[in-house]
Every structure is written in C-alpha cells, then in structure tokens.
C-alpha cells in the first residue's frame, strides 16, 4: 500500500492540500500534484478563494515584467487568428451540411482511380466533397469541382492535393451554390483552376 505523501511530510491532509494554493497559483506544481490539487479544488471554497487571490498577485508580478515585443509579432498573431477563424467557419459550415435533415450522400469510382464522395444539402445549397485514392497530381495540375445542371456548369472550388500514399484521402472541401438538379463533377485542370472545364470529368455524382 502506498503511503500518502502528506503523512510522510507529517502534515494533516487538509492542511497539506490547502497549502498548495500558493505553489499552484505560481504554476510551481509538478503535473501529478497539479492534477491532484485540481481534483481537490472544486470541493474546497477556501482554496478557491486563495487561488483566486494568489493568481491575481501572480498576474501583477507578471505585469511588472512587461516588455514591448518586436512589432512583427502582431502581424504573425493576427494572421494566425485569421487562419484559425477561417478554418473554424469552414468547419462549422461542413458540420451544418453533414448534419442537415436533407443531407444525402453520393459516391462513385473515378476514371482516374479512387473514389469520390459528396454529402449534399439542397436546403443548405452546399456540398462537402472528399475522396480516397485519387492519383497525386503534378504541381502544374489541380482537381476542380463543378456544379453541373440546368443552371449551367459552374466552378465550385479546388480540391487540395491528396496526401501521397494509400489511402490518399483529400480533406473535406465545402462548395456552396448548389441549385436545382445540379450534379457534382470533378475535372483535372491547370494549377489555379479555370472558370469552365477544359477536360472531361473523371467522375460526375448525381444527387437524388
């Protein structure tokens, strides 16, 4: 049987835990002890009050060390935030399509190899495209998505290159602007994409 450390130290248990509020507020606990104290904390109002006060003291000590960062830091942080934000709104939009009440799925082998899959929501006018096993393209080419229907053939976005090697999955891509009887097609286009397809689709997925 393990002997609790507080007995080894000759402290009473409650006293031992309480007195960790100081080191805790200074981030001076090793991970295991930090975790133990964090389990103790919710049931100890006195500890919570002490941690709150000590954290305020620690923050003031921190503020005293203020030093202007290089100006370039701001641009990097704001750029990261912009990228995270864009990814977050894409994620939310993708989740909305996948969970839509009218979501339907279509999947087919492509003439280039591999399988293309879309989940479509007509009410959300969007599809999420993904694929497995598509050939990796040279950097001069790209897979491009198209909405194809009585409203015409419209560019619907580019697919990031599949990861090399099996299964070569492409990350889910959201495409918006789905209307009426649209199907979703994929072509291979020059890098950067085009506004109208220049090659025969490797797959056309009909949605019904």
């Amino acid at each position: 049987m393990r002997i609790p450390r507080f007995l080894a130290l000759g402290d009473l248990p409650w006293r031992s835990r309480h007195s960790l509020a100081g080191p805790y507020a200074l981030d001076a606990l090793a991970p295991a002890e930090r975790a133990r104290f964090e389990r103790h904390l919710p049931g100890c109002a006195a500890c919570q009050a002490e941690v709150r006060d000590f954290a305020a003291v620690a923050a003031t000590l921190g503020l005293a060390a203020a030093t202007a960062p290089p100006p370039s830091l701001k641009g990097r942080v704001l750029a990261d935030v912009g990228a995270l934000d864009a990814a977050r709104s894409d994620d939310a939009a993708i989740a909305a399509v996948l969970s839509a009440a009218d979501a339907l799925i279509a999947s087919a082998a492509t003439s280039a190899g591999g399988t293309a899959t879309v989940v479509a929501s007509r009410s959300g006018r969007s599809v999420v495209f993904t694929s497995a096993g598509l050939p990796v393209l040279p950097s001069s080419s790209v897979y491009e998505l198209w909405f194809i229907g009585s409203a015409g053939v419209r560019a619907a976005g580019l697919v990031p290159s599949p990861a090399a090697g099996a299964p070569g999955i492409t990350v889910p891509v959201l495409a918006s602007g789905l209307t009426g009887d649209d199907a979703v097609g994929v072509t291979v286009e020059p890098a950067g994409g085009t506004t109208a397809p220049t090659t025969t689709p490797i797959v056309v997925l009909t949605l019904h």
Binding site: P23, A56, A64, A65, T67, D80, L84
Partner: protein, 194 residues
C-alpha cells in the same frame, strides 16, 4: 478581482478587458486586435522573463496569444480578472516550455550548482521602470528574504516548488509555507484580491 489601489494597467479606459474577451469569445477579430494591443507587452515580457531567450519567447508569446483567441469563450469573470486570466495562460505556456526543454535538466543543474542568486539582482531584472513595476518592487522588498527568493524562483524562473526547495536547501513544507505567506503579504501590499 479588481485592484483597489491602482488601475489595472492592461485595462485602460474604454471597453474593459472583460468585455473585450467576451467579444473575442464570439469570434470578434477586431476586439482581439485590441486585446493584443493591451496585453502583448505583458505577455511577451513575462514569457521573456521566464525563458530568457528572445526568439523562443516570441514563439511562446504567439502560442499564448492564440490560446487567448481560442479559449476566450471560457473566460469566467467570476473566477478572476481578465488580465489575471491572460497572464495565467502566458505563464503556464512559459513554464511548460521551460520544463519540456531537452536542456531543462542542464539548466537546473547549472542553477543548482551556483549559489542561490542574490534576491536583489533577481528582482532588479524582473522589473521595468513602470509604476506597476515600482509598486511590485516595493512590495517584494517588504517580504522576508526567504519568502522573496521562493516566490521569485518559482514564478520568474519557472521552477517547481520541490526544485526551489532543493536550490535553497529547505524542506518542501517550508517552501510551501514561505510561498503562501509571501503571497499573502503581497496580496495585502498590492491590494489585489480579497
């Protein structure tokens, strides 16, 4: 927890940092830019103080500020001030970096083999010429030597309290109580909390 004796230096007039964090939690990038302007020097300075390496500190400050962006929705004003919340993130990131470094063991050995640093020097290094720094210096000066050494080594150098005990040649329990007593005196002197 608002300071009673002096204005919170990262919360000048205008929307306060609490309100800005609430906006950031909803994805407001303009509000985040204001949060950056108000907190970046505090975040970078603290990280630099702990890591003592400008390039690494930029990296860690960047991570900390991004964590502020990602987790602002979880900020709870009931549990402390906005500036304390931001500084807690920055400090934790800095000590995580210090402790995960391959060189951490070397660094520890280096510091341990030297005599404990004269507290006056540590403190002098820690503070800048701002009013806030002056106030902190005055309050740190009011602590007993052992209280000050324990707190400075733990907070500004990022050591765990057992590491502090080893360096100062003291029992764990002694360091714990020095930290606690010292923080209580600082709380009263700085007029934060309660």
């Amino acid at each position: 927890m608002e300071s009673r004796q002096a204005p919170d230096p990262v919360s000048p007039p205008g929307p306060d940092l609490d309100q800005l964090l609430t906006l950031v939690g909803r994805g407001d990038q303009a509000a985040f830019e204001t949060v950056y302007d108000r907190t970046a020097a505090a975040v970078f300075g603290l990280v630099l103080r702990v890591l003592r390496d400008a390039a690494q500190s930029e990296e860690v400050a960047q991570e900390a500020l991004l964590e502020v962006w990602r987790t602002a929705g979880r900020f709870d004003p009931e549990r402390g001030s906005a500036s304390a919340w931001v500084m807690t993130i920055a400090h934790r990131r800095a000590v995580d970096r210090v402790r995960s470094e391959q060189a951490a063991a070397d660094r520890e050995a280096r510091v341990a083999s030297a005599a404990p640093p004269p507290p006056g020097d540590e403190v002098a290094e820690a503070v800048e010429s701002s009013l806030e720094a002056e106030r902190v210096r005055r309050c740190l000066d009011g602590l007993s030597g052992p209280q000050r050494e324990s707190i400075v080594l733990a907070y500004y150098s990022g050591f765990t309290y057992p590491q502090v005990a080893t360096q100062l040649g003291l029992a764990l329990g002694t360091v714990k109580s020095r930290i606690r007593d010292g923080l209580s005196r600082l709380r009263d002197c700085l007029g934060v909390g309660q």
